[in-house]
């Protein structure tokens, strides 16, 4: 473990995982908002909205994230001139958040949509029978119940998002995987301990998260 006794390496390790956490946090928020909105689009009465929702899911779910993140840099920033900050790292961070969010939103959308499908049809019919509009039906009756059913799938999406944050390294943000790569390059004799520390940190973050969501899903499950 002499590699991590070195203060510079330790700092790099900490800042690498801080980037991962920040990427995960911001992207989880935006992906959730966007994903629920897209799911509403996909079940809405307006054909154009349904089309937008379906196109979004098909495009982003079927493209490798590496390519999406790359495109955020070269398309959004470099070509369209979308800049978030003069600070280079921060700009790359937000471009990464955009890429992770649009990608993850497609998965959130599909999870929420399948959650909506677990709500018995009678519920929606009853809601309509008492005169609720589409948005009222969705907001008051369907989504609260669907929300409980999608806890477990959303947990998986969150875990995947955290792992996917490592891909933002392709546009030069020095997150955990880039730090690991760098440390391995300069400490060829300690490849295995370095890997175990980085993989172990991810496992320590994500395995409990997985169990937490499993527990939560069980607790929140709608008993039918």
């Amino acid at each position: 473990m002499h590699v991590f006794a070195d203060q510079t390496n330790l700092d790099a390790y900490v800042s690498g995982f801080l980037w991962i956490l920040k990427l995960t946090g911001a992207s989880a928020f935006f992906a959730l908002v966007l994903g629920v909105l897209l799911a509403a689009f996909r079940v809405s009465p307006v054909p154009v909205l349904r089309g937008v929702g379906a196109a979004w899911v098909n495009i982003f779910r079927n493209t490798p994230l590496t390519l999406i993140v790359l495109f955020c840099y070269f398309g959004l920033f470099s070509t369209l001139g979308l800049s978030f900050s003069d600070e280079l790292d921060l700009n790359n961070y937000w471009l990464g958040v955009v890429g992770l969010s649009v990608y993850t939103a497609a998965f959130v959308c599909e999870a929420v949509r399948s959650g909506i499908n677990t709500v018995p049809a009678g519920q929606a019919e009853a809601a309509r029978a008492i005169g609720l509009t589409f948005f009222q039906t969705l907001r008051i009756v369907i989504l609260p119940q669907a929300g409980r059913a999608v806890v477990a799938p959303l947990g998986s999406v969150l875990i995947a998002l955290c792992k996917n944050a490592t891909i933002v390294g392709t546009i030069g943000l020095i997150e955990a995987s880039s730090v690991m790569k760098d440390l391995i390059n300069s400490n060829g004799d300690a490849v295995i301990p370095i890997f175990l520390v980085f993989a172990g940190t991810f496992a320590a973050l994500l395995i409990p998260t997985g169990y937490f969501f499993g527990w939560l899903a069980n607790r929140m499950a709608v008993k039918r």
Binding site: R61, T63, L67, L70, R113, N164, I167, S177
Partner: protein
């Protein structure tokens, strides 16, 4: 089960007008946005012929894109075959009555689901050679990484599938004198495998996309050859990214359509009858479907 159309009434005259207005407003907004993007790309010279001309030359396809695509498909196919084997072994392992099989199987599955694939591939390529005292090719680094991750996801899916089979099936099998291993092999795994077919195909999409992470070890797959190497020759990163993304989308859409078709087929035959009557396994199935690694 509810189709989305139950969420709103059949539109009457007013609702139809409202929907039409919303469609037009949104449609116009969308077209305006796309037009703006098109203009901006034009201003930046992204539509210039020199950036796109390479794609009209056969060499680009025969030397870069098709060989890259072949590697991508080869890695995905190999990874899928190995993941299936890995998934079945560890699913059965996690359901074992013996703790010394059950616990290590669980640890392996949980660990590899938690480690980013990028780290795995990198480690297999640079770290494992020190352990086995021999080289690991980029291809195998990618395939083994994909197998460990997707195999773990499939193991969980299989486990859910095996558990979703009505208990009467295994009870009947035990009653006719089968041993546990026979019950697994003859009764549970074949049924679970058929019920899980859509999940397996969906996971193939994930696996195919994940081959793109091979760039970290210079594995010459579609993204490496079609975007990185091609743009080194012609300086057209954005154009190449658009073309390659389109290829991924087409292939994955085909696979997804196959998954949907299989899903309908198996449902019609009643293999997933359990899902309809009890809400139990459904979330687990969905969970397996939507594990969106890179």
């Amino acid at each position: 089960m509810m189709s989305s159309t139950v969420l709103y009434d059949h539109p009457g005259p007013r609702a139809r007008v409202r929907n039409a207005v919303l469609s037009v407003v949104f449609g116009v907004g969308l077209v305006a946005l796309l037009w703006w993007v098109y203009r901006k790309f034009d201003e930046a010279g992204q539509w210039e012929g020199r950036l796109w001309r390479p794609f009209t030359e056969p060499d680009t396809w025969t030397q870069f894109i098709i060989p890259g695509l072949r590697q991508t498909l080869l890695a995905a196919a190999t990874g899928m075959a190995l993941s299936l084997a890995f998934g079945i072994v560890f699913a059965v392992g996690r359901l074992s009555d013996r703790w010394w099989i059950r616990v290590p199987s669980g640890v392996v599955v949980e660990f590899f689901r938690a480690v980013p694939l990028l780290l795995m591939i990198f480690f297999i390529f640079y770290g494992v050679p020190f352990l086995i005292q021999g080289p690991v090719s980029a291809f195998w680094a990618v395939v083994v990484g994909l197998t460990l991750y997707n195999g773990s996801v499939l193991a969980e899916a299989f486990r859910a599938g095996i558990r979703s089979i009505p208990r009467g099936q295994s009870e009947a099998a035990y009653a006719v004198g089968m041993r546990k291993s026979q019950v697994m092999q003859l009764i549970l795994v074949p049924q679970a495998a058929r019920a899980m077919l859509p999940v397996i195909v969906s996971q193939l999409v994930v696996l195919l996309k994940d081959t793109a992470l091979g760039y970290i070890v210079a594995f010459p797959e579609l993204l490496q050859r079609g975007v990185n190497d091609l743009s080194a020759n012609y300086g057209n990163v954005v154009a190449a990214a658009i073309v390659v993304a389109a290829i991924y989308i087409v292939i994955n859409s085909l696979i997804t359509m196959l998954a949907g078709w299989l899903d309908r087929r198996t449902q019609r035959r009643g293999f997933r009858a359990t899902k309809k009557t009890t809400a139990g396994p459904a979330p687990v199935l969905e969970q397996a479907v939507t594990e969106p690694q890179g």
